[in-house]
Amino acid sequence: MNVEQVKQWMQLFSAEIEKNKDYLSQLDTDIGDGDHGNNMARGVKAVEAGLAKDQPTDLAQTFKSIAMSLISKVGGASGPLYGTAFLEMAKAAKDDENDLPALLQAAAAGVAKRGGAKVGDKTMVDVWLPAAADAKQGQLNDAVIDKLVAATKPLRALKGRASYLGERSIGHLDPGAVSTGMLLKTLLQATK
């Protein structure tokens, strides 16, 4: 992975979020507070502005810039979660790591730690952790990602706002899992 690919990734992700903003907010209306699309849209806009301003020249700087934008602008749980993912990739990249599976592994572990969620709790962690494991096996692709996202639907939420709904959270996709699916699919596109 290199700086140009990350920038490409962020452009693709940004476009995807913009396109699906209302959809993500609708998913979040069903089992949350209805702001996930707006939160992410605010986030990716800040990421683009941040990269333009910071002009990072190496991977670590690039990830750090993205992380800081997400942390300060998303304004929901997904802010510190995605922010931590990119902070962890920045840390790994500082140690000269640019292998995609290793970076994803660091990101996924960071997200899981930040939220205290396990796989099966119906959060974005349900996509992050298995996807990172699949990437390590060289088996991450769009179909795998779609399956991980879809698998959140029958679950009962144990973390985040949806967990307040108890049983009522069953039968809905987790909004953060859906946006994580978009993040990973655009990553595959940008690095293929």
Binding site: G32, D33, G34, D35, R161, Y164, L165, G166, R168
Partner: protein, 126 residues
């Protein structure tokens, strides 16, 4: 998944801003819930009084009311008011913000009072 609007919520706080703020937090997840509040005294001071609480009860369109409060004097005024109104009042001695948020989210999801009470049980602290 229609909201439960037969069961309403009343929030009682010593300070008007606290119930105004919780209302904002709640409205994000529960636009359709029958919610009324009494923040501060009838005269707008910090405190609670039965008259103000009765107004919030009367103003609530629901028939059955779940009530949340901050501190003990609100609790005593609530008990006093229970003898003064015909509407069934159910008082919960739970964490104020967290309990009210949980209740609102579940009413919006269509849950009954009995179902909601199960989720409120672990929040009891008073």
């Amino acid at each position: 998944m229609a909201a439960n609007t037969q069961t309403g919520m009343v929030l009682v706080s010593h300070v008007p801003e606290i119930v105004a703020g919780i209302t904002k937090l709640i409205r994000q997840v529960a636009p359709d819930v029958a919610l009324t509040t009494a923040g501060g005294t009838s005269d707008g001071d910090i405190g609670t009084d039965a008259t103000h609480i009765l107004q919030a009860i009367d103003a609530n369109p629901a028939t059955d009311l779940m009530v949340f409060y901050d501190l003990g004097s609100a609790k005593m005024n609530l008990d006093l008011v229970t003898d003064m109104t015909d509407k069934p009042l159910h008082r919960y001695d739970v964490a104020f913000v967290e309990g009210a948020y949980t209740c609102a989210a579940l009413l919006q999801a269509g849950d009954s009072r009995a179902e909601i009470e199960k989720q409120l049980a672990p929040l009891k602290i008073k």
